[in-house]
Symmetry: C2
Subunit: 331 residues, 2 copies
């Protein structure tokens, strides 16, 4: 829900706002990731340091792997606590908490350019690689003491939202903040191991099965991977477990389009596309009723697996032709 | 070969040395990686900037993926060029160039604490995550102009030697240098994609085969992966292609020891071990005649695959018992 009365505020205005109130509810987005949690906890520890009372509310269960900073917070019991959100681009992403907090968020701190301006006040920096970059600067503006756990939370948000400093959202500032966080006892290597190099046995099993389904098309410029309901059932993998599969599809040398097909019931398939220049994933998906970004987009298709594969391959072929990508049209 | 007359020199002394001479041969280590190549080319471009003549000699062919900075260098034709080495811990690692240059290296620039002090002068900083960190500071001391390609070379060395800022060798200084390199047009995301997210089709095929061999032991605290000669032949994978396989073995949740067995002819197997606390990979390998580091070590064993597996599992079991790791002894 867009809100025309949403005020864009500066870092120092946001700092003043946080000094003024005493009881805070901090909201994260659903399917919480390192950045929304890191942001929430860093601001939580900062508010505690300032003698405030604060509670973090997360629409979903917090994954155990964040337990090195994500502790259980106290309960805020006053009637009208001050409500702030972190890394939340849209109230819809509050999941089960949307009904309770819709229209009630007084300060949103975010780095998504797509922020729907739902809050009363908005501290937005769309150049920040992670919301945690903004929180780090906010804690600086508040002049609160940053302890090692706060630094770990901030580092986690920055590392996870940048693929450990790998993606195009990284700036000189990202590395400067990281260097400053290294002044604390954060054990970054251990955080990175937990975040990036720890796979469950069941996920490894799923990857093995999915690799068996690999199909190459258009002179190896396209790879197609399939995750069936049966594979998900057999391995017990679902949800965030499956995010890594789409990553595989874009990591093969020479690939211009990686397609991951995830079965979702009897005749429904969710497709994730990853593309490289000159192909546009959102163009391909849009013409089939889906959408997304230039490099990553998705669409849901109905039919048999065979039909779905033919539909997407035909669309990819059309887009390759339009983009003058030469490939034998094997499908 | 240890050399008692090796002088430890400072950054400014090394800068003076480079100003003094005019014709340079720059040596990298064999099986060149991003750090040795990034170091060699960054210093090469710096020397060119100073009007010097320089040639890079690499014992092995330079992988194509480094072509965005690793161009063909000129030939140095003078009788007695000044010979320097970068990221070279031991003259033995000169491979086919060892005979020609043994005892002739006048300046070694390195970050390996294990440097065998083979050179006349040694600029060593074992706290540097990459040799490229030292080269960056050296170029600063020389006050030479750093162009975008030099910055790309330096970033490549730092990113590759740290697993993209993931490992425990990263320091605040590493991130500071990275932030300064972001002031150039380096397109770090594209470098990182090339270095970390680009897999050959044949490697994906090999990974699929290797995952099929996964065996879990000792209550899933140990995973064992096997790469047979046949798999290598069928996929055409060898050498550096296989480095990623050992990484898989240490990335599974709850694993304390990851074993990768690589067949090397009829009855010979090269084992790579990766361990976590409290297990010591070098201890396990040492008792079988191998060696290495605490977290990564290796050993070569003879026998049938079955015999080799039993030998290493028995040794792992002994070490688990010694370290009081509780596990059902399935082997």
């Amino acid at each position: 829900m867009s809100n025309n009365s949403c005020n864009d505020i500066t870092l120092s205005k946001a700092a003043k706002f946080l000094k003024k109130h005493d009881n805070y509810i901090i909201l994260t987005h659903s399917s919480p990731d390192g950045d929304t949690l890191g942001s929430a906890y860093a601001i939580y520890y900062g508010l505690k340091e300032m003698g405030k009372i604060a509670e973090i509310l997360c629409p979903d269960e917090i994954p155990k792997k964040y337990s090195y900073f994500a502790v259980k917070t106290e309960r805020v019991t006053v009637d009208s606590p001050t409500v702030i959100s972190v890394d939340l681009a849209d109230e819809k992403l509050l999941g089960g908490l949307e009904e309770r907090f819709r229209g009630k968020i007084q300060l949103a701190i975010d780095h998504h350019i797509s922020n729907t301006r739902f809050a009363e006040n908005l501290l937005l920096d769309s150049n920040a690689a992670a919301a945690c970059e903004i929180i780090y600067e906010l804690l600086g503006a508040l002049k609160v003491y940053i302890n090692d756990v706060t630094a770990k939370a901030l580092y986690t948000g920055i590392a996870t939202d940048t693929g450990c400093f790998k993606y195009s959202n990284v700036t000189a500032k990202t590395h400067i903040i990281a260097s400053e966080l290294f002044c604390y006892d954060i054990n970054a290597a251990e955080i990175n191991r937990l975040m990036f190099d720890t796979k469950s046995k069941r996920l490894l099993q799923l990857e093995r099965m999915v690799l068996d389904t690999a199909e190459y098309h258009f002179d190896d410029k396209c790879i197609m991977l399939t995750v069936t309901d049966e594979m998900q059932k057999e391995t017990g993998c679902s949800g965030t477990d499956l995010e890594g599969i789409a990553v595989i599809s874009r990591s093969i040398e020479g690939i211009l389009v990686g397609i991951t097909i995830k079965q979702n019931g009897d005749r429904e398939y969710k497709l994730s596309l990853r593309t490289f220049e000159p192909l546009d994933a959102s163009e391909i998906c849009k013409s089939l009723g889906g959408g997304g970004h230039k490099r990553a987009a998705g669409v849901t298709l109905s039919g048999t697996l065979e039909e779905v594969k033919n539909t997407i391959l035909a669309e990819v072929r059309d887009n390759m032709e339009k983009a003058n990508v030469r490939a034998s049209s094997d499908k």
